[in-house]
């Protein structure tokens, strides 16, 4: 998908023909965004939805994403589930074991912000307290579509990012949320 747009951007019209000028950084960003290998790392309920996302119905492999069990070969860590104080050091360690450039998706309310366990003493209120999170996927648990949307957002973010300053992106404005027109009864 992204390839064609990239190519069109890189096309420069000169007299007598067109030249393809693709910047190296663009190519690198394209490679990174098209091949995000994820760490096999589930914590709780959201992990089941993460597995369902990787399974036949939603098929993460379409986006070139598959699960590697070792952090050394993973690009993106999907923290799926609540993180207890006992578990947090391990997540930090796993994050540190991943090679740069690395990304984190916080899946579910618990990983993003503590979720329903906000008044529990043992749950960390969001993994962004100790690892930098790129995309938050809210929901309890988020539908597989929701996770895929988060992955697509991360892809856009990678495409836009510059080589040197990974985390210096301005935060985008929240896009409008679609509210159904007719009130479907609950």
């Amino acid at each position: 998908m992204g390839v064609k747009e990239r190519l069109e951007q890189g096309l420069v019209r000169v007299p007598g023909g067109t030249i393809l000028i693709a910047k190296l950084a663009d190519l690198m960003a394209w490679a990174r965004k098209s091949s995000m290998w994820s760490l096999t790392f589930g914590l709780s309920c959201c992990a089941i939805e993460m597995m369902a996302t990787a399974a036949s119905r939603y098929d993460l492999d379409r986006f070139g994403m598959f699960f590697r069990a070792t952090p050394r070969q993973a690009d993106v860590m999907i923290v799926a589930g609540w993180v207890s104080v006992k578990m947090a050091p391990f997540i930090k360690r796993l994050y540190e074991q991943m090679p740069e450039p690395k990304y984190v998706i916080a899946m579910g309310g618990c990983a993003s912000a503590g979720g329903p366990y906000r008044d529990s003493i043992t749950i960390v209120k969001g993994v962004d307290q100790f690892v930098p999170v790129d995309v938050y996927v809210y929901g309890c648990p988020p539908r597989p579509e929701n996770l895929i949307l988060g992955i697509l957002k991360l892809q856009e973010r990678i495409r836009a990012e510059h080589l040197a300053e990974k985390k210096g992106l301005p935060r985008p404005v929240r896009e409008p949320i679609i509210i159904p027109e007719s009130g479907a009864s609950g």
Partner: protein, 381 residues
């Protein structure tokens, strides 16, 4: 995973005989086959396991204490996140407990709906077992087939309850809404497909010689040991004990439907696998009977806005896909429970793991752990 020796690990090292020269290896908390965040500290001699020490608590969130701080009915959605593969079973467990505490009657139709949903949930849960068990043994395709069929169950449950995983569709005094239009036909359609797919699973996995040699005679749990540890569910039924709460202490309308309790004598991984496969077939039988017999009527008992059960103590037990799931609640007459206790089947079943693992190979570890089918959310609470 190489880690600096933490105080925790040092204490572990002292528990095993250092002179045995075993290699200590950490399986988990992040490991593809620990089914969540279980950590096993293994002492290995080559490929053989000398000693195993499970470490749990990585998902602990103090749920029982949290429940004491909330009114009774607000606790129901939290049980979804206990055993997240069988959320409806947990809903039913706590609702039964509260109903017993408050003396609430459940309409007959609601009871039938509960049984129907419970069996659909059992199929979904066992399919996750089948898939993850297959992956653990290397049959990755089985995982995707099982999840493919699980999506069909989830579609049904989603249509009825409005959620995919955490349903919260069983309430104190019944179910919140009737079955949707044409639900019975859809379930029957699914049952028809699922029967054929079960045959396929047998052809792909059960009859496979490699699968059999990986599971037969591995991780044998004798009947006495199973009883001594207090295991339940498929684990004890595979050890030759015909114990099923649905038969032993029938709840809802389980005494009105006909089904068999699959029992195997061997007590090995293979037997546990077979018991679960057979249970899915029995669930289909129950579903068909329920859809045939379901009466008309209301689905919910009216309850006051603020639900205050009289002071007392109540205990309920149900057969969740993992075994006997029990809730105990103590009431002092206030809107909040005084004490909640959850007897999680996975917790008890996991406790037999060290005795099963001793003397087996590393490769058998995943088979045995997979066959016990634990859910860590339930163990840590």
């Amino acid at each position: 995973m190489s880690m600096p020796v933490s105080p925790e690990k040092q204490s572990t090292l002292s528990t095993v005989d250092i002179l045995s020269q075993g290699m200590v290896i950490n399986v988990g908390p992040q490991h593809p086959s620990t089914h969540g965040v279980l950590r096993l500290i293994l002492t290995l001699d080559g490929e053989q396991i000398l000693h195993c020490e499970p470490v749990i608590g990585y998902l602990h969130r103090g749920l029982e204490k949290m429940m004491e701080r909330r009114p009774y009915r607000h606790n129901v959605p939290f049980t979804d996140r206990l055993d997240y593969l069988a959320a409806l079973s947990n809903n039913l467990g706590i609702c039964q407990c509260i109903e017993r505490l408050g003396g609430v009657e459940v309409p007959e139709r609601a009871q039938y709906i509960r049984v129907l949903l419970m069996e659909l949930q059992r199929i979904a849960s066992h399919l996750v077992f089948l898939g993850t068990f297959g992956t653990d043994l290397g049959a990755t395709t089985m995982f995707l087939y099982a999840f493919r069929e699980r999506e069909l169950v989830l579609d049904l449950l989603e249509e009825c309850t409005g959620a995919r995983l955490t349903y919260n569709w069983i309430r104190v005094g019944g179910v919140p809404d009737d079955l949707p239009e044409g639900f019975g036909e859809k379930v029957l359609g699914f049952v028809k497909t699922f029967r054929q797919r079960l045959e396929e699973y047998d052809q792909l996995l059960t009859r496979n010689r490699i699968f059999r040699s990986r599971t037969q005679g591995i991780g044998i749990l004798p009947k006495e040991l199973a009883l001594a540890y207090g295991t339940s569910g498929p684990v004890i039924r595979a050890s030759g004990m015909a114990y099923d709460v649905r038969k032993a202490a029938p709840y809802e309308v389980y005494d009105r439907v006909e089904f068999d309790v699959p029992v195997h004598e061997q007590g090995d991984v293979w037997a546990r696998y077979l018991v679960r496969m057979e249970e899915m077939r029995q669930s289909i039988r129950i579903i068909e009977q329920v859809l045939r017999d379901i009466p008309d009527g209301p689905v919910q008992t009216k309850l006051p806005k603020v639900f205050k059960p009289p002071a007392g103590i109540a205990y309920s037990r149900i057969e969740s896909p993992r075994g006997e799931l029990s809730f105990m609640m103590v009431s002092d007459g206030s809107p909040n429970p005084l004490r909640v206790h959850i007897r999680a089947p996975s917790f008890v079943n996991l406790s037999v793991l060290p005795s099963l693992l001793e003397g087996t190979k590393v490769a058998d570890l995943v088979a045995i752990l997979g066959s016990i089918d634990v859910v860590l959310g339930e163990i840590d609470r």
